[in-house]
Symmetry: D2
Subunit: 337 residues, 4 copies
């Protein structure tokens, strides 16, 4: 922590501040400059609330100099984390593709879509059985039955399954039927849920919240890692801004930012970020060009009849075309698909 | 729903769109203007996803004309909801004051603070036993033991208790020890949690999320109301913006906005909105002047030793002074305290 | 500037960084902690681009420790700046009220409104002659003719005039007809305009831009101050956020923040911040309760016929009632009106 | 305009509203649904302030159904606008590359960089002579002398020149030395400046403001178009959000959104959007993959000595590599470079 003192501060006040810092168990270095005095406070308090110093008399500014996350940090682990899920690797050189319907609606629906996405080259099947809906009157998902349909569809097409968990008490269901447990954007800071998946041995994909800084996302990842589960995948899916033409603002710069700060893989979800089909294609391409470790896209064979998010689902032909394009873009930056 | 068609659209396309709307079970009215044709689609589909129409060929814009919430709406109930908690009324003419420490830290701490806030005139004691912390390494609260201390301190000072619930499976604990169950900002769209308190008969205070529009807040309230619990109190506690001098941006305009849209009471929490003590006083006054039905503020007798959020806690003397000021401001707008 | 080095950095890299800092003419102090090394770089470079250090090999984080503004800072001048405009003082103990129509529309209109606002107790008349409109097809103001009407109406009612400047080449017109020159939110970073009013000897009211942090506002004030004009008044008028029920989000916390950071007076404009009449009253009260040095509100005798912003203008009776309320609220915090 | 009336509204109120709308010269259609009555108001008032209707007694919601811009709209002109600047076309099939230093610093500097960018394949040279700097103490540009150096460097390398205009009275200088006049983000709503370039016959590149919705950007373009200049190029350069790891949030979704709404070309500027060199490369690739009509990037041969924005400038080798990558990406989506 670095503490900038007010100009023309008295010696008494400086001493009082140093005393206080020592009470907080920091060791203090004082640097006297031409215009200002700066204190360096060093100690092992990664989560010290710096506002405790900010309010001391004579203090002008305080900066935390250590990242608040540890296990998620690139300085903790230099090499990229590669998450192995059966034969699929997320975070390696290959760009991962997660595709499927927003919600599992019926056995036939998910089975047909699974075949479509597998044929186009995707290796991971997505589909929601527990759906976080802003309205209590909207379709809330098929629950365990949905997970069964999803698992069956995946197995028939040699796909890996990702599905969302909303309630800590349902972890066992996800562990039984899914290969990757998804934590949705609205639950990014649902700490009991993070602790629950932290105790699982299944890989977890953690989506960035609508108001979450990249740092907040990494702090939530830290919850899972600190609870004992090292298999964390991050996902950028758009943040909330003032722009209204798109549902959210897809923050693709977060991809290189996360690659620098953390060793964890980062997936991009253009379907939720933009909310409308014809924006999904260019944004999926952009995500791969920006270096994403994978993309998650919604695909539906009858989107006009989908029980949720049909308008943002790609049609089967669009998805096949997208797969061809992103394969070529991946090659431009030395990756494969 | 109102559908604006593209200029110079062909008759065939118009018919196809009308057909589609009828398939969705809307009845359709067509208005032909000089420059543009507008369709009105009327029917009982409060949660119809308007993007399904937005993607149809020939459609330029689509507007939902009904509010997505019903039970929370002022058009559903004209009179203000008054929530009775023992002898305290929230949402009536009296401005409610909820005060106390951020976290319950010990029996002595909460007991001393309860006495301070009761003496200054507050009727509701706040204190967290389950704490949502961004870091897994921070103090996570005393749990049930904390609730016991809080209850005891409240009872000794004739106060009503509000405390936060984080996990659906702990509803019974809050029901046992608290009078009002708080849902925190980060859980505003934790739908299993909303359903859980919706089945409780205790009043619930729902805090606005950092990225939540007022409409989203009212939709989350709708979850609780639709689950059967009519005792919902809303709380504005700051939204996330680009400004960095304050922790969040306190959106006080939300107070008159909510009073117009909804019959539910709205409390303002300047402690979390600003994050630093000397901003809490002016913002608490401003909230009352703006018409808030109450305020929630953090008070601590030894904030420098607080285990969480000490820097935003008011000192006992500051709190007493604040109580005097807001009493006078309440009178200016015809309310009392 | 404080530079945090990467963990386990080599001695060679440290030396290279120190050498670079010395080339930039900083004197460098090195603090070696248990986990990390921190460099303090001290020197007289208030506007040094810290990203130049951020990109050096081995650097983890860089913090600027001096405020980028000087003349606008509370540390440069401890006492509040009081701006005298004829008999009116802005920034003193009295809460200033600026009221009048959005645009000057005719001699009669502004004359009638001037009488209304003077009778209600306001001392400063607002009215736009050059209007910044988002659409090229909207009413753009009466220009010099409007300024003449405004001046006349003010003189007849013993009021001081504030009006907006949009083009540097029209400074002389504002100097001739107005007492305070307003710089609008959209021009907050129009640097030629800031320099132009910086060379004037008229007081300037600078409105915060829609995307401006408080720091940016103070930097723009610095432009005016550094150009030689010490008479700067700041104005909060709402920032752009994701909320859509209000036109902008009124950031009232900026008032105490600015009072701490700067000696310049801060006015609040609830009319532009909220954009709709019935939100203006509670927000004007809130602004005074939060400690604003004044408010600016739009008043119109026939708002339904106003050529601009009629829907946010207060009716004469509402304005009189507001004046009574804010007088009482000002007294609660030891100020007068 | 579509007006949704309050439920259970009386016949008298409906008639009063219709009367008012007719006074505003709209023709009104009434649709009576099961739950609600909706009025359609049609007429030629593209810039009618809908809040005038919003405040009428009995009105629940009002929606503008026509875009507020006309000349900038895709519905006004179906085909893409191709802007010809000497031999270069912006808005055609070819992806345009604008590259060069942030500021013109000396004859040698801009001459060397011009050669570098020309050799790598760029056809448009950027460089600022008038610099909008947030601090009055920062380098403000070389002025006319800078424009001369820029022109000379461009001519020697067969490049087209783009440079920024800040003050309406300097339009003639830009017209003399530059081929494209740039309007910076902070001046996007500087209406006198927009009108000034609207009267020029030089192409104008208009950058999106930090708080500007896509709609606002198109409205500012409308100012230029309505003033008589049809040669408008748009530029996305990042918007302001809560994220702090990057300088701004690069809103790449704006590219397909603008392509749908408008016929004007859209360029992406990853240098200003991200603010740091190692984020520029992935974001430039992403912009091309998203369908941008061109990119603008800063290149410097000695960025560590640059007088402005050195840390975001690409090194010559990085730029050459980038040119190769984006050429390949452009081909993937059927474009060339």
């Amino acid at each position: 922590m670095v503490i900038v003192l007010e100009k023309n501060i008295s010696e008494d006040k400086i001493e009082a501040i140093i005393k206080k810092l020592e009470d907080f168990e920091f060791s203090v270095h004082k640097s006297t400059g031409v215009e200002q005095i700066v204190l360096g406070a060093i100690g092992a308090h990664p989560n010290f609330d710096i506002r405790k110093v900010k309010i001391l008399d004579g203090v002008s500014e305080v900066y935390r100099i250590t990242e608040p996350f540890k296990l998620a940090s690139r300085s903790f682990q230099k090499e990229n984390s590669e998450i192995n899920i059966k034969d699929v690797i997320v975070g390696g050189n290959e760009v991962a593709v997660m595709a499927g319907p927003c919600s599992v609606e019926s056995e036939e629906q998910v089975s047909e879509i699974a075949e479509i996405v597998a044929n186009a080259g995707a290796k991971i099947l997505r589909g929601g059985a527990f759906k976080p809906r802003t309205s209590p009157y909207s379709f809330q998902g098929l629950g365990e039955q949905g997970l069964k349909f999803l698992r069956k569809a995946a197995d028939e097409n040699n796909l890996v399954v990702i599905s969302e968990l909303m309630d800590p008490k349902q972890v066992h269901l996800l562990e039984e039927y899914a290969d990757i447990i998804q934590i949705g954007a609205r639950n990014m800071q649902n700490f009991p849920l993070l602790k629950a998946v932290g105790k699982s041995n299944k890989p977890v994909m953690l989506k960035r919240g609508l108001a979450a800084k990249v740092e907040d996302l990494l702090m939530s990842a830290e919850y899972i890692l600190a609870s004992g589960n090292p298999y964390v995948i991050l996902c950028e899916r758009g943040i909330r801004t003032f722009e209204t033409y798109t549902r959210n603002t897809f923050d693709l710069s977060a991809i290189p930012v996360i690659h620098k700060r953390s060793h964890l893989p980062i997936i991009a979800d253009p379907s939720h970020a933009t909310g409308i089909r014809d924006k999904v294609l260019p944004m999926a391409r952009a995500a791969v060009a920006a270096g994403a470790d994978g993309i998650m896209v919604e695909v539906h064979n009858h989107p006009e009849k989908a029980l949720s998010d049909g308008p943002q689902a790609l049609l089967p032909d669009q998805f096949s075309e997208l797969m061809k394009q992103i394969k070529l873009i991946a090659e431009v930056i030395g990756r494969k698909m």
